[in-house]
């Protein structure tokens, strides 16, 4: 499944990171690397982007970009 499909409050472990060069690089440097555990915290008032918790800090990401990250769901 992808990060986009992960429900609010659920966590997932990153498997692969897709996306174009700049986006992908940005995801990596912000700490979205394979095996990182990410929790979805919130969806923006207008339905997009989403708020994530990873490595002890909060990151926001658009749904279309979250769809490029594959994950496996893990118990929180």
């Amino acid at each position: 499944m992808t990060l986009k499909e992960l429900k609010v409050g659920k966590s997932g472990r990153v498997l692969t990171i897709g996306g174009e060069k700049v986006l992908r690089h940005r995801l990596l440097e912000m700490g979205i690397t394979p095996h990182t555990v990410i929790t979805v915290k919130k969806i923006a008032p207008m339905g997009d982007p989403i708020e994530l918790l990873l490595r002890g800090y909060v990151l926001t990401l658009r749904l279309e970009d979250a769809a490029k990250i594959t994950i496996e769901e893990v118990p929180a």
């Binding site: 996306g19 700490g31 919130k42 982007p49 909060v58 990151l59 926001t60």
Partner: protein, 668 residues
């Protein structure tokens, strides 16, 4: 001795910079975001200067800030680096640290926000971490000025001894082999180009094109590097960028396991979540945002800014009166007397009295920025902004645009793509800047006393709506293509540093007053000259016979369809191009009315609907000279700048004419 201050965004870098340098800063004029390279000297050591680098997350060549930072560190070679790290978000902050270490420049790590770590029963084994990273580490709390002296001492010692960071081996296995092989291969080239070999090697393995180009390798060498990388990718079944990012983060994770005790959820995080339960709430977020902005404007215009402005205004009027009678007693030549009293005092005084309003607005905007609320605004506004081809990040420069277009356009440098940057620059002048407020305030008070707030708000809304429509057209025509990724950190809410806010206000005040006494001062004298002399340079008692009247008369025809064809109004608008503040001062000088009488006088020039169309024209027509020069610099194109001027002015005329004509029809 020169130190570079480097670190992530939201790491407290600006706060530390302000603590280190106090008010000894150069180029500190731009509020909001740290875009410019600010330089300052240490408070008690003028021989030591600090360069504040932009907030970045890695040393890659993707954003202009990353490139600026990298170029500075590689080419200017500062005596030392002070790397500030947010201890409450240590893993991601250290990602940059690992790359900075590779630059082999004497370096000290400032572990910031240690008070929060301790208050949450967290701890960091600094001695152990120091051993692993091979650089001095100083715990600090920048906002409380704790550990600053120790940090400075450590930085000076490290730089004086030229103690370069020890080599940190963050990689193992296949990555290690690849980097090792590449390091050997490029050693000589790197030494020749003055690039640290280890840094160059890991960047090459990562696939960094500018470094590859800078090293001037032979084709054979490039092939060998690609071969080594290919072997590594095959062995690890991944790609070079992901492999290196993963390696660095693995190393950091392992180190943090050994030396960091992290609370599961810090108090600050829980507090932020509580705030966000309201401020980014599904339904309440937008009303809360509108409420906050309305509160800011209400406090600025009704409670704090305007009363203070009135006070200053009467002070200036009093001073002007004293000077007036003193000059009369002295018997000064009446032309010079007129220059001082009618020209300088009237013109400069009218503009100067608005300093409190502008500062109050900047005060609130910087509170919103420093507290972390602006990041929430970007988070909320991303979706609608994406529809017009921008990202939520463009919202912040646009919001700053309500203060002043100049810093707003400078703040667009934080945007990652050229396209987003250009579009935001294009859109920002539609956000009515605070220099136009005096015009709005005067006209609404004179013509719409009962609906003053409503008319004001409608002006702002019209500006925003037209900006959106315009950028929608841009998106469909000139700036096609995808917007940049929106991957943004959302910092915990923090109490803004009083020092940072007051330094920023001081800078703004200085900047504004400087402009008043340069551009505005000059403009008032020129205008006074043009309106006091006729074409044959005779002093005229009645300004209707003056040069200015002739010029204004000539162009006032253009404004007839908008509802005002008096030469004084067209002249006011011309001087407004120099600085919007001058519109009022010009009108005041030309009509011979003091700041307090001006509203009354203007009622004889405009019908209410003409007054409104005048306001619309003022809202939309070309930005002032300072803003235009900033647009020129940031766009790097004369054609683009010219387009901004023509588009804004053309649109202003069309909309104002439409409103005036329709209003007249309805009024009949």
């Amino acid at each position: 001795m020169i130190f570079a201050l480097a670190g992530n965004q939201n790491s407290g870098k600006t706060t530390l910079f302000n603590q280190l340098t106090g008010s000894n800063q150069r180029v500190g004029n731009f509020p909001g975001v740290t875009v410019e390279q600010k330089t300052g000297s240490l408070t008690n050591r003028s021989d030591i200067s600090i360069v504040d680098l932009p907030g970045i997350y890695s040393l890659s060549p993707y954003t202009s800030e990353e490139i600026v930072t990298r170029d500075y560190l590689l080419k200017q070679k500062p005596d030392g680096i002070i790397n500030i790290v947010d201890a409450t978000n240590i893993e991601r902050n250290l990602y940059l640290t690992l790359q900075l270490i590779e630059l082999q420049i004497p370096m000290v790590l400032a572990l910031n926000m240690m008070d929060e770590v301790q208050a949450n029963n967290g701890s960091i084994d600094i001695l152990y971490m120091r051993e692993i990273l091979g650089i001095p580490i100083v715990p600090i709390t920048a906002i409380k000025k704790q550990g600053i002296a120790e940090l400075v001492q450590s930085a000076i010692d490290t730089a004086q001894d030229r103690r370069k960071p020890e080599r940190v081996d963050f990689c193992t296995g296949a990555v290690h082999r690849a980097i090792h092989a590449v390091t050997h291969l490029i050693e000589d080239h790197a030494a020749r180009q003055g690039i640290p070999d280890r840094f160059a090697a890991s960047k090459l393995v990562e696939g960094d094109a500018p470094i590859l180009k800078a090293l001037r390798l032979t084709e054979n060498e490039t092939d060998m590097i690609e071969h080594a990388v290919k072997d590594m990718e095959d062995e690890l079944e991944s790609d070079r960028e992901a492999i290196l990012a993963d390696m660095r983060y693995q190393f950091i994770e392992d180190m943090c396991k050994k030396c960091v005790v992290k609370p599961k959820e810090s108090r600050e995080y829980r507090r932020s979540v509580r705030f966000d339960n309201l401020l980014t709430h599904k339904i309440l977020a937008i009303p809360a945002f509108l409420f906050i902005m309305l509160a800011v404007f209400w406090l600025t215009f009704n409670v704090i800014g305007t009363p203070l402005s009135r006070l200053l205004e009467s002070g200036i009027a009093g001073l002007s009166g004293i000077v007036d009678s003193a000059l009369s007693t002295y018997g000064l030549n009446h032309v010079v007397h007129s220059l001082v009293v009618d020209g300088i005092f009237a013109g400069v005084g009218a503009v100067l009295s608005f300093v409190p309003i502008i500062l109050t607005l900047f005060f609130f905007l910087s509170l919103l920025e420093d507290s972390g609320y602006m990041a929430r605004v970007a988070f909320m506004m991303d979706k609608p902004l994406r529809k017009i081809g921008l990202s939520g990040r463009s919202f912040v420069p646009m919001l700053v645009g309500f203060g002043c277009t100049v810093p707003a356009i400078m703040a667009t440098r934080t945007l990652a793509s050229e396209r987003d940057k250009k579009m935001t620059i294009f859109l920002t002048p539609f956000m009515s800047c605070s220099a136009k407020i005096p015009i709005y305030a005067l006209f609404t008070a004179a013509f719409f006393p009962r609906y003053q707030a409503l008319v004001m708000i409608s002006l702002y809304v019209i500006g925003i709506v037209l900006g959106i429509l315009s950028s929608f057209i841009m998106k469909k025509t000139v700036y096609k293509g995808a917007p940049v990724p929106f991957v943004m950190e959302m910092p915990n809410y923090r109490l803004p540093s009083l020092k940072s806010v007051s330094l920023l206000l001081w800078d703004r005040a200085k900047d504004f007053v400087q402009r008043v006494f340069t551009i505005v001062f000059l403009a008032t004298i020129v205008i006074w000259f043009l309106q006091s002399f006729d074409m044959r340079l005779n002093y005229v008692g009645n300004s209707a016979d003056s040069m200015l009247a002739a010029i204004g008369q000539a162009i006032s025809v253009i404004f007839a369809p908008i509802g005002f064809n008096d030469w004084r109004i067209s002249t006011g608008l011309i001087t407004g191009v120099m600085a919007k503040e001058s519109v009022i001062s010009t009108l005041s000088v030309l009509t011979g009315a003091s700041a307090t009488e001006l509203g009354e006088t203007l009622r004889t020039f405009f019908s209410p609907i003409a007054a409104f169309s005048f306001l619309i024209f003022t809202l939309l027509y070309t930005p002032c000279v300072a803003a235009i020069s900033t647009v020129r610099r940031e766009l790097g194109s004369l054609k683009g700048t010219f387009f901004v001027i023509v588009y804004q002015t053309g649109l202003a005329w069309i909309v104002a004419a439409a409103i005036y004509q329709i209003g007249r029809l309805l009024g009949q």
